[in-house]
Amino acid sequence: MSKVVVIDDEPFILMMIEDKLTRAGINVITLRESKDALPVIRREMPDLIILDWMMPELSGIDLCRMLKADPALKDIPVFMLTAKGQDADRQLGLQCGAAMYITKPFSPKALLDMVNSVLNPE
């Protein structure tokens, strides 16, 4: 069973993604505080991480850089799910190692498709 960690400070985003992915048979772990994420990720070693960008104290992009800098975690694909929709933001997000850059508002159905495409490449 695939495991996905979702980090966003908006509870309804977490609720929505959790509901959608859980229905698809994915184990979803949700976090509202990015600063608490690293130990959880190290412990859970998820197949995919979905990150919001704008979060207090530790931004999603910084967390993404930290993940990619960690040899044990760098191979975990990261989806940036953010309201920052500028081209420059997208470029920066991808440069930091994000596998997908998804801008809000998003379709849960499309998100699930993207998650599946990463978790089940065949």
Partner: protein
């Protein structure tokens, strides 16, 4: 005849001397004759008597001749002396010398000729004197006319001088009015009909008119002249190049005989004054025209809001308008005459490379205009170069300029330099940047609630939500919809207040009630972050009148900011009190604090300071607060220390319920 008589007298004198010379001859003959008689033995006594008689006679004749010669000589010296005296007198400047002719001989004739010569000299000297007076008079008038101040003063000076020179009593000038109906006195604005008087006739004919006594001559003087004690008068045409501009008159309360010299003086002065007036008017017209054109050009030059300066082909600044001085922060006097590259520090945009020569658009414009015609045809005409570049202001501030340079071509098509027009676009760029930031921020703020609305609706429609969960979904959709609506409202509120369209709904403000509602609204986040929110409302402010909806927004935003920009467990104090003639609202917290460099910009729309990176917001909250405070006529002051907390103090002028 006289000549003959003079010769005769001279002959007589010579005869006397001849006779006088007989005596020695007679003595010599007597001696020789006596010797001869003695040889022949004749009567010596008779001989001696004869000789003695001859000698006596000769002696008497000699005495007589001598006396006669003396008399004649003296008579001849008298006119010579007279002539000498007359000549000496004339030499001494006494031209009135007249010699009396004591004889009618040649000397008498010489004296008469001398007298005629003296008369002629006297007459010529008198004429010369009169001419000199005339020329001096004309010269003194010419001196007045050669330094004209203005037409009125010139006329007054000329008239005064003429009155003085001709010993008249008064004078003036009449000029035709624009319609040609009347003659107007230049000094007194007195009006005369343009026709029917001696003045109008003088203007028509261009001939001087003099009148010894107006009571005795058949002329038509102006009525005011007839009714006065004026006797002598003259009217002189003021002749210009093509026409007579007016008439100068002089009057005397005594009869005045105008001599020919005076008439000549007056005629000359009339012509000189006419020409001088024409020149003055022409000069004034030209000056006015030039001033008007120059003034207009200068006004336009200085009214242009863009900075503008011109350089010659060596890039030496030749002129500069006020906007240029203001933008560059350097007075024109410090720049004109200097090369622009030596005084105006342009830098590449956002770079440190100083623009000069190769990159200088002014120089490029000059060089481009020197390019071969084919190149210019290719580039199009006129060659104009535009670019954006930085300018280092004397204050050290870096400002962004939009610069356009064009070559300056004179009427003959020669390149005489270049003109640079520039505009400070720092503020525009800042506004652009803020707009972009706003769009980014607003779109970001819109995207998050839209995620709930779109995503959750999709899942509800797809039937992927359990019945029990669906209510939570719908509530979230509703809340996020409200959040969107509030965001739009904030934007509209600011826009409305700024544009002056906002309605001030004055009413009783119950701060306790407002704070109660705010606490309730923010209770979740307060609880979650463990915030301690302490409020105190003084009794004295309970009857304050203001726009409670706006004040609610104000307090909500200030308290929400304290919550958002602080860590868990933060203490927030809200203290509302009466401070003299004002209500003092103080919201302080022990949160993150604000960097000093951010504080001046906090009330600017869409500004998100250092903490904007890690918190969500539109950058509109404090801007809206500031607008609300200003709507109430109050002030907003923010004090903060990074790491210690922030205190926002609002002072609203007191307006009580019973006032």
């Amino acid at each position: 005849m006289f000549r003959n008589r003079l010769i005769y007298r001279l002959f007589l004198i010579l005869l006397i001397f001849a006779v006088a010379s007989i005596l020695p001859i007679a003595l010599m003959i007597h001696k020789e004759f006596r010797a001869l008689v003695m040889e022949v033995g004749g009567d010596l006594k008779s001989i001696d008597r004869i000789i003695d008689n001859i000698i006596s006679l000769s002696f008497y004749i000699f005495i007589l001749a001598f006396l006669l010669a003396m008399f004649l000589s003296r008579r001849m010296l008298i006119p010579v002396k007279e002539l000498h005296r007359g000549a000496m007198s004339i030499r001494d400047g006494n031209l009135d010398t007249t010699l009396s002719a004591s004889s009618h001989d040649e000397l008498g004739e010489v004296i008469e000729v001398f007298n005629e010569m003296a008369d002629s000299l006297r007459d010529k000297t008198e004429r010369l004197r009169r001419k000199n007076v005339e020329l001096t008079a004309i010269n003194s008038i010419a001196a007045i006319l050669s330094h004209p101040i203005d037409d009125k003063n010139t006329i007054r000076n000329v008239v005064n001088r003429l009155v003085e020179l001709l010993d008249m009593d008064d004078g003036g000038v009449f000029l035709p009015d624009r319609q040609g109906k009347d003659l107007i006195c230049y000094q007194t604005d007195k009006r005369l009909p343009a026709e029917g008087t001696v003045f109008s006739r003088v203007i028509e004919t261009g001939e001087i008119h003099t009148c010894e006594d107006i009571t005795k001559e058949v002329i038509i003087p102006p009525a005011w002249m007839k009714d006065s004690d004026i006797r002598g008068c003259c009217a002189i045409p003021l002749k210009g190049k093509d026409r007579t501009h007016g008439v100068l008159y002089l009057v005397s309360f005594r009869p005045h005989i105008f001599t020919d010299e005076e008439k000549r003086i007056l005629t000359s002065v009339g012509e000189m004054t006419g020409m001088a007036l024409e020149n003055i008017w022409l000069y004034e017209e030209m000056t006015h025209l030039m001033l008007t054109e120059k003034g207009l050009a200068e006004a336009v030059f200085n009214s242009i809001s863009d900075g503008l300066y011109t350089v010659d082909t060596n890039c030496v600044i030749t002129s500069m308008n006020r906007a240029a001085e203001k933008i560059l922060g350097i007075p024109a006097r410090n720049l004109i005459g200097k090369r622009c590259m030596d005084t105006i520090e342009h830098r590449d945009r956002d770079g440190d490379e100083r623009l000069c020569r190769m990159e200088c658009p002014l120089n490029n414009a000059i060089q481009a205009s020197r390019a071969p015609q084919k190149v210019k045809d290719f580039l199009g005409s006129p060659v104009s170069i535009s670019r954006e570049m930085d300018y280092i202001h004397p204050s050290g501030k870096r400002i962004l300029l939009n610069v356009r340079c064009s070559p300056l071509i004179d009427a003959k098509g020669l390149l005489i330099g270049a003109v640079q027009v520039f505009r400070d676009i720092t503020r525009e760029r800042e506004i652009d940047r803020m707009k972009t930031e706003f769009v980014k921020t607003v779109s970001h703020e819109f995207r998050t609630p839209l995620s709930a609305i779109i995503g959750m609706t999709e899942m509800l429609i797809d039937g992927e939500v359990d019945r029990g969960r669906s209510l939570e979904y719908l509530n979230t959709i509703l809340n996020e919809g409200v959040r969107l609506s509030n965001l739009v409202s904030d934007l509209l509120d600011i826009s409305r207040i700024e544009s002056g369209e906002g309605i001030f709904n004055e009413g009783d403000v119950d701060f306790d009630l407002l704070l109660h509602y705010i606490k309730k609204t923010l209770s979740d986040i307060i609880k979650k972050k463990g915030i301690r929110l302490e409020t105190r409302v003084a009794d004295e402010v309970r009857h304050f009148r203001g726009d409670k909806e706006r004040l609610m927004q104000l307090l909500m935003n200030l308290i929400a900011n304290s919550i958002n920009y602080s860590d868990s467990g933060c203490l927030i104090n809200v203290n509302i009190s009466r401070d003299g003639e004002a209500v003092r609202i103080e919201v302080s917290d022990t949160g993150w604090g604000i960097p000093d460099e951010d504080i001046p910009f906090l009330t600017k729309k869409f500004f998100r300071g250092k903490h904007g990176i890690k918190t969500k917001g539109t950058g509109l909250g404090l801007s809206l607060c500031n607008e609300i405070v200003q709507l109430h006529g109050g002030t907003l002051d923010i004090k903060s220390r990074l790491g210690s907390g922030t205190s926002v103090t609002v002072q609203l002028p007191w307006k009580g319920i019973y006032e």
